[in-house]
Amino acid sequence: MRQPKIIVVGGGLAGLMTTIRVAEAGIPVDLFSIVPVKRSHSVCAQGGINAAKNQKGEGDTVDKHFDDTIYGGDFLANQPLVKRMCEAAPGIIDLLDRMGVMFNRTPEGLLDYRRFGGTLYHRTAFAGATTGQQLLYALDEQVRRHESEGKVKKFEGATFLSAVIDKGGVCRGICAMDLRSMEVKTYAADALVFATGGNGAIFGRSTNSVVCTGSSQAALFQQGVDYANGEFIQVHPTAIPGEDKLRLMSESARGEGGRVWVPRSPADKRAPRSIPEAQRFYFLEEWYPKYGNLVPRDIATRAIHRIVYQEKLGIDGQPAVYLDVTHIPRETLDRKLEGILEIYEKFCGVDPRVEPMKVFPAMHYTMGGIWVNAEDQATNVPGIYAAGECEYQYHGANRLGANSLVSCIFGGGIAGPAAVKYAKNLEKGAESTPSAVFDAERKRQEEKNQKLISQDGSENPITLWRELGDVMTEHVTVTRINKNLEMADAKIRVLQERSKKINLSDRAKWSNQTLNFARELENMMVLARVITLGALARNESRGAHYKPDFPERDDANWLKTTRAKWVNNDIQLTYEPVDISLIKPRPRRYDAAK
């Protein structure tokens, strides 16, 4: 009998869960990851993982978790699979518990749960403030176990370049590049599962890790894999600006009385503490007297953006506002906020107990992603599956806190067996694909490399990326105005032109990180356009997508999924209805009980 073979691309939570499921089915699996899988971006998730276990006797149910998720996502998610995810969540927690995750415990030795945004129930299991790290490690360990038994082969330090698709439009393997030898090779497989995470890098700086470029998704998109709801990204209101990365600053700083302000005059260059009270603009408190600094996330985010980009009141002309806790007694700070204040101190070298913190909203999560079907994570190309943040299925127009980890593991748990089933049922596997198909794809990729390495241009990839990030952050994150979006798209196209003149300043054929980055950048710009055009078209406000010119949700015209296709080397937006068979859409309001 034919032995099927599966390739998983991406070693975060979703990829690892997929790998485990495939290995358990007795099918050999090759796992590709840019970084050693233990270093994947999932480690950055802090808060926890949701499951309606009702461990606190509050009457929490799967249905309530389901409703919170759909409502939080502003009714843009297809409902049946979300319901299945909520049903599976308690079992996922049990599994992680059995894998030895050091979850916080109650005195009885049971898992402890805490409350998170968007719900009234203690539904979030957590392991200190590093739940994502702990979960990823648990799966990493299981994969290592399968690896030591020969069921899994890891290709760490290899980057996905493209899928190998035969003439019949069926996927037969991948083309990948070793990031040390820079060697381009093809690998045959009967099914691929992508779990390549979010695309924060498109926005220049974000809370995402360096590898979260969306490059794989963009590469697949240009090979005919549809991309859905690209315009939906989540921005977290308070992150610590850094030139390299925006690091999360928990909402609890405002919860404990932190105040957000900027100097009233943009010319005011004084140290923050020497600016008198009357010359400080506590804009959240002035604009939203009822909620003040504790307005919901999206409102706080929009307000900060308005201050910086419209009122031009950012500190020192920079995109930053003050988050001030210096008026709170030191012992209160040390008791309640020590951990998060230490992060600030560590990365900024400034004591936030003495000097107000500088914060700014940051691109945080990619709700949109690779289009997958409503049953088993299959994309529109036969043999290609997707799971985790790189696909669009579970979070609609806005992700609920602590739902991402559960969606990654659930999605991976479905994609693995689905890929196995598909591979087993194939009449002819990848082994009967002519080698010319693989050779052609390898050649195409090698030529791209050769061109980049040998061309003598004037553009630096990092500079282009910075410009891409700036335009995306300014126009395509929080507040979206059609004329700006058009401008942004034009600017991206200019960048695409300029990128044809990239000079790598490194022609080495060994560990050439610039070459890889230039390739990623090219893909990022494609996805940037998908996001921008999706946002431009969607003339309504829904979840994280906000247009001041269209401030209301418009179910009559826009209760539909954006499905971008690559047609004739360009982006084409199509739309399909959302499955709302289980919960009827109702207005989503922050200021009243739902």
């Binding site: 599994l95 050091m102 360096v210 390299d244 990365k245 560590k346 060994w510």
Partner: protein, 250 residues
Amino acid sequence: MAETKQVIVSVKRQAGPKEGARWEEFSLRWRPSMNVIICLRDIAENPVTRGGQKTTPISYDSNCLEEICGSCAMLINGRARMACSALVDQLEQPIRIAPMSKFPLVRDLAVDRQFMFESLKRVKAWIPIDGTYNLGEGPRVSPEIQEKGYPLSNCISCGNCLEVCPQVNEHNQFVGAAIISQVRLFNMHPTGAMNKSERLAALMGPGGIQECANAQNCVHACPKGIPLTESIAEVNRDAWKQALLGWLAG
């Protein structure tokens, strides 16, 4: 108008594992909260040395940039630490940046730490679950065990503890403090304990716990503040007990 402040950075360059090494100096524009990663990115954007010579961008590993992925460990002013949390303002200049010395070099600052992951395999650093299908809840774990285990499970495999350990070098295959600490973590878990004797045996093999000579550098160098010396002591105790009892009682 204040003159622009400069940051002088000196980087050890090596084109590949077999190529010769050289130092290159760069002069970068200072900005607030600048860290070593930002310096390396500045160089990538304008790969020109202080002397005006064109050069190549520097190869280095990085990912999360918030000290939780373990990628960007390197020697900064002679000390093993994470580049993302190494703030320029807290470093003496010129800032000397070199690759870790205890792992095979890839290029420039990038090294190959696969040895650590292989060691994790060797000591079976996992919980032996039957499968991922639904088998109900896991074993009860007291908050006390959780509080001990959680810090250990924060290990990011950065390799700093190996880098600073005088016992880790080309003469032996010492697995290092991080791995020993992981053995302690898995041995303290109710299910993990089922493989306890195998893990301890692996640590009593070549390059095992006996190579530790108690210099205790590891615990100082750990960016996550893991009580590594405590882990080594506890695992040591379990190991010799197992060896003695195995000999006495079979």
